[in-house]
Every structure is written in structure tokens, then in C-alpha cells.
Amino acid sequence: MNIILQNIVSGLLVGGVYGLAALGLSLAFGVLKVLNIAHGELIMFGGYIAFFAFSAIGVDPFLSILIVFPVLVIFGLVLHGTLFTHIVRFEEEDRIKNSLLIGFGLTLILQTIAIQLFSADERSILTAYSSAGFELGGIRFPLIRLGALLLAIVSVVLLEIFLNRTWAGRALRATSENWQTAALNGINVRQTYFIAFGLAAGLAGLTGVLLATGFSVAPSIGLQWTLKALIVVVLAGLGSIRGALFGGLLLGVAEALSAYAFGSEYREIIGLIMFVIVLSVRPQGLFGGDHA
């Protein structure tokens, strides 16, 4: 029994990372209607910044988010200003297509830069508390992964507050629903796009911190996490913020339980099949169409 519970707990803890990975992608898609497949590469860069902040100047990874987030936001703004801003003027379908293509080119560029700067070897952060944890009813809670889940939850809560309580956040929600109507409300849509993309990049950076502390980062990890994030985003419903986290948690638990039931080599397959079934029953995703 404990093994099942432990698996569920581990699934939840990993699911938090899935959710955070999906959060930025979902935000960018919701507001800009672009699918940035270089999202995983932004995650990768976030991970490297955290790694070097830790190994070079000894910054605790959970503190390094104060560096990683703004750096990635700025990076996102630059990327948007140079690349994606040129495609948001297209019709929605062309936006998705062109963003896929630009994202594809971007993945090649960012991976090369990463290999040149950081070498291709996997890097990981191990802090003094990396192996620490506590037991509760025979279930082990590793601190570092609890921290990851906490960061994911805090990110969602802060983002929700931002979206619901601030002018800029509401402008984001308005633009995600209909940019023309938003513009007729006096909202500077161009500026809103910048904010959304910058935030999405910042959230990708936070995910990178979690990868560096809980897994490892390497220049080629991007695609894997982009795919995972895409699946969570669609499972949750495109553009749903809270949904992205719940979707991530759900996928994490589903994977853990299927590993337990069918063997570890089938953990991802069951998750994917569950995803397809959910979609064919509820094509707009679990939390789609209810919340911006």
C-alpha cells in the first residue's frame, strides 16, 4: 500500500514540474496564439543559469530564481521583439504555422549556442539538502521535489493574481480572448504581447531551475520538455492557467500509477493514451473554455 502511495506522491511531485513547464507555453499560446516550440530551449537556458549561479558563485537554486526569472524575461522580450512580433500580425492559423517554423529555427540556434557555451555534458545541481526529506506515514517527501511543487503552485497563484487583479494582467486576459476587442478597449495589444511572451519565457526559466535541481540539463533536452509541455497544455485546455498545473499533476500521477501497474517501461504510454482518450471525450481539454 505504501508503495502505491509513494508512487502517487512522486507522481504529484514530478507533475508539478510538468505543470510549470506547460504554464509558460500555455500563456504564450493563450495570448499570442503562437506555439513556441523553442520553449524547451528556454527551459534549458534557465537551467544553465541556475547551474552556473550555483556552481560559480554558490547561489542556492531556489534563490537563483530571482536571477533566472528576470534574465529569461528579458531574453523573451528580445526574442519577441526580434522574431515573434513579426508573426503576430498574421491571421491566427498563419501565426501557429509561422511560430512553429521560427521556433524550429530557434531551437537549432539556441542548441548550438548552448553547446558552444556550456559543452554538451549534462549538468546538475546538488545542494546540501538535495538528498534530504522527511517521512510521513511511511511516505517519503524529498525536500527538493516538494520545493519544486511549491514553486509551481506559487507561480500559478501569482500568475492568477496578476491576471485577475492588475491592469496589465487583465489586458492579457482580454487580449487572449479577442485582440480586436481588447484594442477597442484601449489596450495596447502590441505591448500586451511583449508582456505575455516575456512572462512565458520567465516561467520557462523557472522550470529550468527545477530541472537543474531535480534532474539534469543538457543542450539537447529542449524537445523532450516541449513535447511534455504541449501535451499538458492540451490536456488542460489551451490557455487555461490553473488547468496547466492540474493537467501536469494529473499526468504525473497517471504516469506513476501506470508504472506501478504495468511496469516502468509503459509509464509514458499510458499517460499518452489517457491524453488521447480525454481529448476524444472532451475535445476542448479538461479545463478548456472556462478560464482564460
Partner: protein, 234 residues
């Protein structure tokens, strides 16, 4: 107040507006009438910079706005209630109204205007916590107009406010429009409902296939044989 000069609008290769002239003087209510597909909505969207202007100029308060961005135009006091109403379905009524006070001009007046809007549309206050998509058609039009008022318009442009509404509600909406006019706001109203519109406006233009075919004081057009034959005899 608003002056449109030889405006041409095209979607790619397909031109839909062929050089229209139109003027809305201060403190007036002007109608732009015409059948479906005549180019009314396209003209309005081009005026608001939501469609590219192919040729011609748009002046608002003596200033050329044809190169300005939509949000700047709105900020300067030219506010459009679009044909698609322009409410945010996933937001509550209150949120819809609050977000509308987005411009720097409207923000400080938000509380005050909100009270006024609720006075004009008590229905909206009753439903202020409801999501906009749960509203009826008439309520949504009220919300759309209320939203526009939040923006402190100097010229309010209404695109087909009666579209798809029951006659009783249409009358109600036109009463509100009259009330808004009395608050000193100029109004440009685009309609297919010719009779009612002519009755409640000062001056009217008739547009057909992208060109102005007739214009004059509304009261005169109401009596004009051609207008009566084309639009009112049905």
C-alpha cells in the same frame, strides 16, 4: 468632430469601400445606413485602424488618426461598439466594465462612471458577477454600450446595435442612445433598421456597394421617396 475623406478599404485584392466622405459634427447624432455588405463595418474597422486603409484620410478632433494605433484612437475619445458586441465572454460583467476603463483618461473616473453605467443599465448591476457569455442578447448589447461608456467617449460609434434583438429591446437600446446623446456625447450609428435610426438621428448617409449614394438631414430622408421606396416600404 469626425471627418472621413475619400476613404478606400480593401481586403487583399478585393476592394469593399470606394472613397466615402462622411462627417460627424460635435454634439450631433449621425447615421450611416445601408444594406448588408455595403462596406459599413469595413469603414468603421478601417477608421479604428483594425483594417488597413487603402487610401483617404480620417480626422478626429482635427487630427489625422489614420496612422495611429487602435488603442491611441480609443484613448483620444473615439470609441466603437463593434458588430460582434465586443464583450469578453469569459469575464464577469463587472470585469468587463472594469477592464474598459483601461485608458489613462478613463482609469481615474472608473468608480464614478461605473455608478453611472449601473444607473443607466440597472440590469447590469443585478448580473455583475455573472460571466458575460451567460447574458441574453439584449443584456450583452447593454454591456457593450456600458463598456464603451466606461472609456469616456467623445464620439460613440455603434455598429448595428439592434442586430438580432427583439423589437422591445431595440426600442430600449435606442432610448439609451438618446440618453447618451443628452450627456453631450456625439454618436455615429450604423444600422440596417432605417426607420428607427432616421427617427432618432440628426443627419444620415446611405451607403451602397462601398459608395455614399445619398445624404441629408434625417428628417428629410424620412420623407424622401427613393429612401422610402428602397428601405422603408417593406
Amino acid at each position: 468632430m469626425l471627418k472621413i475623406n475619400q476613404l478606400e478599404v480593401a481586403y487583399g485584392d478585393i476592394q469593399v469601400v470606394w472613397g466615402i466622405d462622411l462627417e460627424v459634427p460635435p454634439q450631433s447624432t449621425v447615421a450611416l445606413l445601408g444594406p448588408n455588405g455595403a462596406g459599413k463595418t469595413s469603414s468603421l474597422l478601417a477608421m479604428m485602424s483594425l483594417l488597413p486603409i487603402k487610401a483617404g484620410a480620417v480626422q478626429f478632433k482635427g487630427e489625422d488618426i489614420s496612422t495611429k494605433k487602435t488603442h491611441e484612437i480609443v484613448e483620444s475619445g473615439l470609441v466603437l461598439v463593434p458588430e460582434w458586441r465586443g464583450t469578453f465572454a469569459t469575464m464577469t460583467v463587472l470585469e468587463n466594465l472594469e477592464i474598459a476603463a483601461y485608458t489613462s483618461k478613463a482609469r481615474p473616473l472608473q468608480k464614478q462612471t461605473l455608478k453611472e453605467v449601473f444607473e443607466i443599465f440597472p440590469r447590469l448591476e443585478e448580473r455583475k458577477m455573472q460571466k458575460a457569455r451567460t447574458l441574453s442578447g439584449g443584456e450583452r448589447q447593454m454591456l457593450a454600450i456600458g463598456r464603451a461608456l466606461m472609456l469616456q467617449p467623445e464620439l460613440l460609434v455603434l455598429d448595428e446595435p439592434s442586430l438580432g434583438l427583439a423589437p422591445l429591446i431595440v426600442d430600449n437600446i435606442f432610448d439609451v442612445i438618446a440618453a447618451i446623446k443628452n450627456r453631450g456625447v456625439s454618436i455615429l450609428i450604423v444600422e440596417q433598421n432605417v426607420q428607427l435610426t432616421l427617427e432618432s438621428t440628426d443627419y444620415a448617409y446611405i451607403i451602397e456597394t462601398g459608395r455614399i449614394v445619398q445624404q441629408g438631414p434625417s428628417a428629410e430622408l424620412l420623407k424622401d421617396d427613393r429612401v422610402v421606396e428602397a428601405y422603408l416600404s417593406l
